[in-house]
Symmetry: C2
Subunit: 231 residues, 2 copies
């Protein structure tokens, strides 16, 4: 609409990222249908770069391209989300093993300060802000392994559960426990007690997953109600 298509032509990668953001933030809600022409007009380019972006998104499972019909944002499949969470636990458990004896103390202190329960924000921060902070915590642990491939797999898994995970923090009462649980994990790492850190982190992930999935069910119901009256 607001024509910013003259000087910088929108690249396929940028289209990909913007579409992914729209999907992950529910701007394009599950089940919605988009056509290549629509998006091409929207971004001020031809169908070619749009197709490239859509194919990437389809390959990653965010939407499905049905031949001669259109592109449909994939429905949220809670059973599948559960499976992604299981993969996440697999990766994060190994991450703790890898960094347990080796992660530098200063870096641990930095995280501890960042998640000090006494600094829990009183009036909840913006949801997206909180999600980014949370994902940052877990990715920081991954990065500390020095294994970029491992970190990128965790990032990939995170993206796939992001759409659900962000709902965890719409419930304000999850913010304080998140601070406390993150802090506890760091304390165990400082004490070089990897086993305890593992137990705590797994419980933390499962707790947040449960809350997020619960909220998702409600969200989906209301989303369907909205979709009901559109046509």
């Amino acid at each position: 609409m607001q024509g910013t298509q003259n000087p910088p032509r929108v690249s396929p990668t940028e289209i990909y990222q913007r579409l992914k953001t729209m999907i992950l933030s529910f701007t394009l809600y599950p089940g919605a249908r988009v056509t290549e022409m629509e998006l091409a007009d929207h971004f001020g380019v031809s169908r070619t770069p749009v197709r490239e972006a859509l194919q990437r998104l389809a390959a990653e499972g965010y939407l499905s391209i049905r031949a001669k019909q259109g592109c449909f944002i994939r429905d949220i499949d809670l059973a599948e989300i559960n499976q992604y969470y299981e993969v996440r636990i697999a990766l994060e458990m190994r991450i703790l093993e890898l960094i347990g004896k080796q992660m530098p103390i200063p870096e641990l202190h930095r995280l501890a300060t960042m998640w000090d329960p006494e600094r829990t924000p009183q009036r909840g921060p913006a949801v997206e802000m909180m999600v980014a902070r949370d994902e940052g915590f877990h990715l920081a642990l991954a990065a500390a392994t020095g294994n970029a491939v491992l970190a990128s797999y965790l990032k990939d898994v995170n993206d796939h559960i992001h759409i659900v995970r962000r709902l965890d923090f719409t419930a304000a009462e999850r913010i304080a426990p998140t601070y406390r649980e993150h802090y506890e994990v760091i304390q165990r790492l400082l004490a070089r007690d990897v086993s305890a850190a593992r137990t705590l982190l797994e419980e933390h992930i499962r707790r947040s997953a449960d809350v997020a999935k619960e909220i998702t069910l409600a969200q989906l119901a209301s989303q369907r109600a909205k979709a009901w009256k559109l046509p």
Copy 2:
């Protein structure tokens, strides 16, 4: 060449799979350059479906598309391969935890029979055959978790190390140990001793990784020697 392009038009997905196979089997060796037109002619289609396949392969890291220059098969980066092996261990360790107490006995017996050391083939089977069997073993464990997402991540990791892993079995002396080690893991699972199974499986993976990486170094050297005299 042998014109089979009339009745069935080659789909982008098929192009993708065939190219991937060519890369993983060293038919297109690391560093080689291919152009879209070349491949389009080869498969008897236009550049469009070829581009689709190449973009998927690039997204998965198998090749890099350099603007206005060409597509280059990615070099093998042994440090990166190491990182993939670490992810593989993370996933497989969790897989053992998940199936430990639950995998049905008959399925375990099936695998035990399949990898009975006494049935080790005397004159080595074809390398690709052995690799497929090996990957099948590990994917069978993954499938037994009932977690399709987890299994697909393991498959993805396997694909990325396949190019190196297959070399493990060019050394005939690795075949017997593979049978023995697989068999041992299954025995521990039958005894419901998950912890022992984990230890054995991790050692097994690390051993095969070490051999594979060693052979890769030699292979790369000879490959470079070949490439030397091509132009």
